[in-house]
């Protein structure tokens, strides 16, 4: 599988200050999360990939294009939603998005059609003839998303897409990100402080700290691996239930409230749990796959 982003010893320096140091990783997931505390270099990494910052050492490739030699090709296949407000206040949304589409290479007629289409898609259909300067913060975020997808990029880079959004607007943005991911037509890079946003949407996570890569996690694989950790909550007389599970090869730890945490052995069929419960006339009120949360992973990475 071709790597979406491949960092090969990438370094960026502003004057004497080293902002990114020897980043090496190959990312090929459908959605890639970029995490790190303030000043970790997330935005600089994005800007370097887009060719805004000069590379001081190493290199990187995006969808096979080298950022040092093929910037135009990279920009043709990338959509970028910046963190800060970026728009032209005295233009209507449809006119602005159309212009951005044309700058990406769409013919005028196709750009106009796509502008209407993406504005409806992001939920600004009714407000598309309003001046961008009159938009609320949430609407501006959606307009930024619309301009990033108007030309149908193969890679969409979202820098803090849920910044400043109220809960419903955040939910809408996350839903759009998931939909675009599921469409299978593009890869996404999501840069965010909000672990929940990344956890909800991303398959791979790169954690940066002080310009260095401190952790890489393939959440999708970990999710699959962690399916073997199960927590059940029972109601009724559960004496002997844990022992029965242990007899089937599970490692069990019973706790108050009828809760039992267990590690399932390889090849264990889940229906065995239901069968044992049924034999004891025991109600199973809840059954969860427990796994390390992204917060656990992030905090561990920050301790490095």
């Amino acid at each position: 599988m071709q790597a979406v982003i491949e960092l090969a010893g990438l370094g960026v320096r502003f004057g004497d200050r080293e902002i990114l140091k020897d980043l090496r990783v190959s990312l090929s997931g459908r959605t890639i999360g970029l995490l790190g505390p303030n000043g970790a270099g997330k935005s600089t990494l994005i800007q370097t990939l887009l060719g805004f910052c000069p590379v001081s050492s190493g290199t990187a490739t995006i969808l096979g294009y080298d950022i040092r030699s093929a910037q135009r090709q990279i920009r043709a296949v990338v959509g970028y939603m910046p963190e800060n407000d970026s728009f032209v206040a005295n233009m209507t949304a449809v006119s602005f998005i159309r212009m951005m589409g044309e700058l990406s290479g769409l013919p005028p007629d196709a750009a106009l059609e796509r502008a209407h289409e993406v504005l409806f898609y992001v939920g600004l259909g009714e407000a598309r003839y309003r001046l961008l300067g009159t938009y609320s913060l949430g609407m501006k975020q959606l307009a930024k998303l619309a301009q990033a997808i108007v030309h149908g990029p193969k890679l969409l880079i979202l820098d803090e897409p849920t910044n400043g959004l109220d809960p419903p607007a955040r939910q809408r943005m996350i839903r759009l990100v998931k939909e675009m991911k599921d469409s299978g037509e593009m890869h996404l890079v999501l840069c965010s402080h909000l672990l929940r946003d990344v956890e909800e949407t991303c398959e791979e996570v790169l954690i940066l700290k002080q310009g260095r890569m401190v952790h890489y996690a393939n959440l999708e694989e970990e999710r699959r691996a962690n399916k073997r950790f199960v927590e059940v909550e029972t109601f009724g007389d559960d004496s002997g239930f844990a022992e029965a599970l242990t007899g089937l090869g599970c490692e069990c730890a019973a706790s108050a409230g009828g809760r039992i945490k267990m590690v399932l052995p390889v090849g264990f069929e889940m229906r065995e749990i239901y069968r044992l419960a049924a034999e004891r006339d025991l109600q199973l009120r809840r059954l969860n796959y427990r796994r390390d949360s992204l917060e656990d992973i992030f905090l561990k990475a920050m301790e490095v």
Partner: protein, 287 residues
Amino acid sequence: MAVYKRTYKGYLGDLTPFWMRFLILPRYSFQRLFQSKFLVLFLMACFFYPLGCAGFIYLSHNLSFLKTFNIQAANLLEINSKFFYIFCTVQSTMAYLLTALVGPSLVSPDLVNNALPLYFCRPFSRTEYVLGRMSVLMYLLALITWVPGLILFVIQASLAGWEWTRNNLWIAGAIFLGPLVWNAVLSLIAMAMSAWVKWKIAAGALILAVFFAGAGFGFAINSVMRTNYGTLIDLGQVNNTIWSKLFRLPESSTRIDVVDAWDALAVACLICLWLLFKKVRAFEVVK
């Protein structure tokens, strides 16, 4: 795809060639600019003098009309290089005012609203951006300077005959080159000011001030240092020197060498380009 289908879909159609994308910016800029009634009225006013000149050229060749009003053709201003020089000077003054009106709205709105990252994350370079924005002014200024100038030349040539045209063809070159260079200088100064002073009114005032300040400082330097080189920072005089040479007029009153004048304009353009490229970038590194 119809707009009611609200699912994401990629774009699979044709793309325009890279080289023509800088032409997109002027199209959108004109849409915005011509929403201003004042600008439209001013632009119309810029055509009064060329229309007057066209009428004058026509009448000066219409002996029956002159006889009707008992006017001797010899008493009229001769249509020669000086006539076109005056025409270009008047129109370049209008161009200067038009630049102060239009220039500030070219780059500053993009900088104020931080729109530059959106331009440059696309297959669209800083050079193309500057070219695109500059072409807005170049089109407008051409429309009131060398384009009507050449039309007047064609009118005169058609009325005066082949002999006059053959002997004065170089005037057409001067009409084209002189204003073209001046328009380029004006455009670059306007864009540089617009990039550095984001407040449009202040940028407009600064564009005007550049020329007045240059004239004032140039005069002061000449007076204090007892030299003529102070004139090199007075861009109006520098341009006057170049045009005098282009239109083959008698010695210019500025007394600076025409090569020095060209150098001064080139330096002014380079400074403007440097200022522009310092500001026109996707992001700023804050030291």
